[in-house]
Symmetry: C2
Subunit: 290 residues, 2 copies
């Protein structure tokens, strides 16, 4: 069995080259009839399209992000080859960020960070509380491990509104699809109630931003901790910036430094599997959109 | 065997009364020859002294806090009876706060909370990192459980400086004694180094505040997340308030609401053990001071 011939685009990157080679592949140019393409810039879909046209025999494309809503919407995810993404690969740091945002919200860390005077004790412990995680992927798996020491009760979301009603914390960790867009809106926030904290580490469009602004202002829920917003970046002067119970991080649950070794490992494994004919990891369901 | 006769001071509180009764005790006045005294105000040592003088047959005193450095320094912890405190009882919420402060520090949440504009990705993941916890009590036990999912490497501190040198995070969770006061000073901060985060959920006097201010200002360490300070409350205008890499919470790792049920359980167990002649839980070593 010969080594898979892999192209990397739009530009070569040492970590990706090393991953391909350590997975048993060889690096070739896009014009040189590669078996696979590792595509490192998820925003350059035009460039990706050109590469696809240049390499008609391509059996596999590896995308760099966990979410593929952009490529899915563009229609580029054809059925002529296997598409894989990084879904699951970055679950640990993203789940860790979700836990950081959860604890920060429960312990009022935005207010504490802004204080320049000693304050009064306040906060809620996560121990023995109910947490609802929307999503059944790798982030949820890792977050469940992180929540286990707190004896947090996690619930199945087959009945979404019932789960929301009793939860201290609701974490959104879903793929963004037409079905999940806007899954948290005015009705859901009202059901969550005044003690509840909303945490979003998925995509801003899962949450109805206007409804959230209204809910936070009126005390419909206790607070929100958001790594993603809609629009994103959140523009200066947006009301969420001035909401004292809203903590915002700039889509930084997983930094480049955190994900590079994890993406390298995903690339290595998939090159190895391509060589041995095993099923690849992180295969995209183009119709489902994730 | 008759029910232990327990007084509660300086004032009765329903949660304590219920705990005594559910442990098999009966509530009596301090003048009525109690076997034990549950003392709910750790700052009113003069009142406690009066109660002790009023009840010469007292075999047991339960104090409400985990730390007893105040009573120990006052000399009130005599050898005429068994003294118990709440050590270990509040470990879970305090360890949870330590984890919240750890993740907040690693992910720059003070800066994020103060931002009114989208920022650049930054932060460090806790996964597979070295964490040093100073202290071998209940907080450490609970924190080790919480750190386990992150595969964090925790180290023994028999060689303090060696442990500090390789640690991304140093958590202070010690009792305050003459031996541990100032355990983190200029030399220790220098050894920790520029990537390191200091977390203190114990007592402010474990850390040399002036040395910390200097170290943060000069980038000797990356940041500090403090639930306790020296002096405490931290006065307005203190330089720690304006240090962008320092997150301060006002000694609120365990709020009254969090600890009340935990103290009630400690009281219940100790009344039960007093009745059955078993060793009490949380016995204070007056000479050691914890």
């Amino acid at each position: 069995m010969s080594a898979p011939r892999i192209a990397i685009g739009p530009d070569l990157a040492p970590f990706a080259t090393e991953a391909v080679v350590s997975g048993g592949g060889s690096i070739v140019a896009i014009e040189d009839r590669p078996d696979g393409l590792v595509w490192l810039n998820p925003f350059d879909l035009a460039g990706l399209s050109e590469h696809l046209a240049t390499a008609p025999g391509l059996r596999w494309v590896q995308l760099p992000f966990a979410g593929v809503e952009g490529p899915a919407a563009s229609g580029i995810l054809d059925e002529d080859r296997v598409w894989t993404c990084a879904k699951g690969a970055y679950a640990e740091p993203v789940a860790e960020h979700a836990l950081a945002l959860t604890l920060a919200g429960l312990r009022h860390l935005r207010r504490r960070a802004e204080a320049r005077s000693w304050g009064s004790p306040a906060g809620t412990s996560l121990y023995d509380q109910q947490v609802t995680i929307l999503g059944g992927g790798g982030i949820t798996t890792s977050l469940l491990q992180q929540l286990a020491p707190f004896r947090a009760v996690t619930v199945d979301v087959s009945a979404l509104h019932e789960a929301l009603a009793g939860s201290l914390v609701v974490v959104v960790a879903l793929a963004l699809t037409p079905e999940t867009e806007g899954i948290i809106g005015e009705a859901e926030l009202a059901i969550m109630g005044e003690r509840a904290l909303l945490v979003n580490v998925a995509r801003g469009r899962h949450v109805d931003t206007d409804a959230l602004v209204t809910a936070l202002g009126a005390g419909v829920i206790a607070g929100a901790s958001l790594d993603v917003t809609n629009p994103e970046p959140l523009p200066d002067g947006h009301p969420l910036w001035s909401e004292p119970n809203c903590l915002i991080t700039p889509h930084t649950a997983d930094t480049i430094e955190m994900i590079r070794p994890l993406l390298a490992e995903r690339i290595r494994i998939n090159v190895q599997r391509l060589a041995s004919g095993e099923p690849l990891v992180g295969v995209v369901d183009a119709k489902a959109g994730y």
